[in-house]
């Protein structure tokens, strides 16, 4: 699975996100990911993809595409 597919799957299965609402340009808050949800998502991505996101700043104002890019950059580091 690609990085975006992994994250999309987590959103659907762990946060109940509507698959139809998942698009790269959508701000995370529009997917109902508040600050607590983002921290929960950070842990889930780290566990699932074996990456360290501790120094990645997450904000609900960021888009899903920005999140995927940040994870990709860490996965490739």
């Amino acid at each position: 699975m690609s990085t975006s597919e992994e994250i999309n799957a987590l959103l659907v299965t762990r946060f109940g996100t509507d698959p139809g609402a998942i698009r790269p340009e959508v701000p995370l808050r529009q997917l109902r990911l508040d600050s607590l949800a983002l921290e929960e998502l950070r842990l889930l991505i780290e566990d699932r993809m074996d990456v360290d996101l501790e120094d990645v700043v997450l904000s609900s104002r960021d888009t899903l595409g920005q999140l995927v890019a940040a994870v990709r950059s860490k996965a490739g580091a």
């Binding site: 299965t13 762990r14 946060f15 109940g16 996100t17 109902r32 607590l36 921290e39 929960e40 842990l43 566990d47 501790e54």
Partner: protein, 421 residues
């Protein structure tokens, strides 16, 4: 301590009977008020009490669990992730209670609706799980959700969010009397005019190796591992401790004029409430039963009801040697010999902070059906128990008034007087 005398604690407030218009039950005896009532009366499915893998090796390795409803399917994964199991069970019960009351949360005056839910331990299982994570995987793997999922008010806030309640919402935590105190608190809030409608009761799920291990160390729980279904046996000669259960029991209570104005069906009334503190022990009840006597006498005085009028008692009846004798002796002293007494814990388990909510709901149903559920597993009644305990099968009665008593660790006693609609 001065012994509580008859009528010695009559409150100054005018009598007030809150209308019970809705019931929601999620128990090991059944989910939904109808199924739980049949389970309590011994005419439904057998209670769900099983050995659990996470309790393996403990002297008590079994619990009453809710197995006939799936919170994931009912609530959805998005809502589920922000609730530990006690909150999930509370939301399921609250939805049933509100629907049963014929209330529509999309149109009600949400600022005049309140939630009061009791729980002794809140989200202890998640706490237990996360402590294990900390110990085994380190601080960076601990969930950020520990506080919101484990706080005792999690059930109340989850129900408020689910139903769109904008009036006061709060948790009550007085150990095993929490559910009863929550309903009593709701009664007082309605009487004071703080709201028109309250969703009130208790919720608990302590499926936690940590807690059950400690309860075993305390020697408070039954160790009848060879026969879990027969382990909880209130008022029986061979009782050896309680058996923990999970569940939720919630009522919709309303100011009587509010219920009348909307033409609601009133199931019963909460007519009186009394509470007291033993100031005696962290775990043991006052051996003379004076604390629970004070709570009961206060509740009777609050309702303006005499002992002779009480036809049924749903007792705390935990199946511990001390509680059952002390409580039954107190009931005989205060109410006399005539009330039909039961403990429904052999059907539901001891649901701790939920017990008062579940058992008050069953008392409402007993008033409606004029039927007292049996005390399960009462094969050899303890001859020292001086009250008429209903056993084997449900017994018909004719009563307009019933009592629910609860005692909690720390000496938190509570009693409710309910009257027939």
């Amino acid at each position: 301590m001065t012994p509580p005398g008859p009528g010695a604690h009559r409150p100054g407030a005018a009598p007030f009977a809150a209308a019970v218009t809705g019931i929601g039950l999620v128990t090991a005896a059944g989910t939904g008020a109808d199924a739980a009532w049949r389970g309590a009366c011994g005419t439904g499915a057998a209670p769900s009490v099983h050995h659990l893998d996470e309790l393996a090796g403990l002297p008590c390795d079994f619990m009453y669990t809710v197995t006939d409803t799936d919170p994931r399917g009912v609530l959805g994964v998005g809502a589920l992730r922000l609730m530990d199991r006690f909150s999930q069970l509370a939301v399921i019960a609250a939805r049933e209670a509100v629907a049963d009351a014929g209330l529509d949360p999309t149109v009600w005056d949400s600022g005049r609706v309140a939630v009061v839910i009791g729980s002794a331990h809140g989200g202890l299982p998640f706490y237990d799980e996360q402590h294990t994570t900390l110990a085994e995987r380190g601080a960076r793997r601990v969930s950020p959700k520990l506080a919101p999922l484990t706080v005792v008010n999690g059930a109340a806030s989850s129900v408020a969010m689910d139903l769109g309640v904008h009036g006061p919402s709060l948790a009550v935590s007085t150990a095993c009397s929490s559910g009863t105190v929550a309903i009593g608190t709701a009664h007082q809030m309605l009487r004071a005019g703080a709201c028109d409608v309250v969703v009130a009761g208790g919720a608990e799920s302590v499926r936690s190796r940590l807690l059950i291990a400690s309860a075993c160390q305390m020697r408070a729980v039954s160790t009848r591992r060879d026969d879990p279904l027969a382990a909880c046996r209130p008022f029986d000669t061979h009782r050896d401790g309680f058996v923990v259960g999970e569940g939720a029991g919630l009522l919709v209570l309303e100011r009587p004029e509010h219920a009348r104005a909307r033409g609601a069906t009133v199931r019963a009334h909460v007519a009186g409430y009394g509470a007291s503190s033993d100031a005696y022990s962290a775990v043991a009840p006052d051996p003379g039963g004076l604390g629970i006597e004070r709570a009961l006498r206060t509740a009777l005085a609050d309702a303006g009801v005499g002992a002779a009028e009480v036809g049924h008692v749903n007792a705390h009846g935990t199946s511990t040697v001390a509680n059952d004798l002390i409580e039954a002796t107190m009931l005989r002293r205060v109410l006399g010999e005539h009330p039909l007494v039961t403990s429904t814990k052999a059907m539901t388990g001891h649901t701790l902070g939920a017990a008062g909510g579940i058992e008050t709901a069953l008392t409402v149903l007993a008033l409606r059906h004029q039927l007292v559920p049996p005390t399960g597993n009462l094969d050899a009644p303890d001859p020292a128990i001086p009250v008429d305990v209903v056993s084997k099968e449900a017994r018909r009665g004719a009563f307009d008034c019933a009592v629910k008593t609860s005692l909690g660790f720390g000496g938190h006693n509570a009693a409710l007087v309910l009257t027939r609609a």
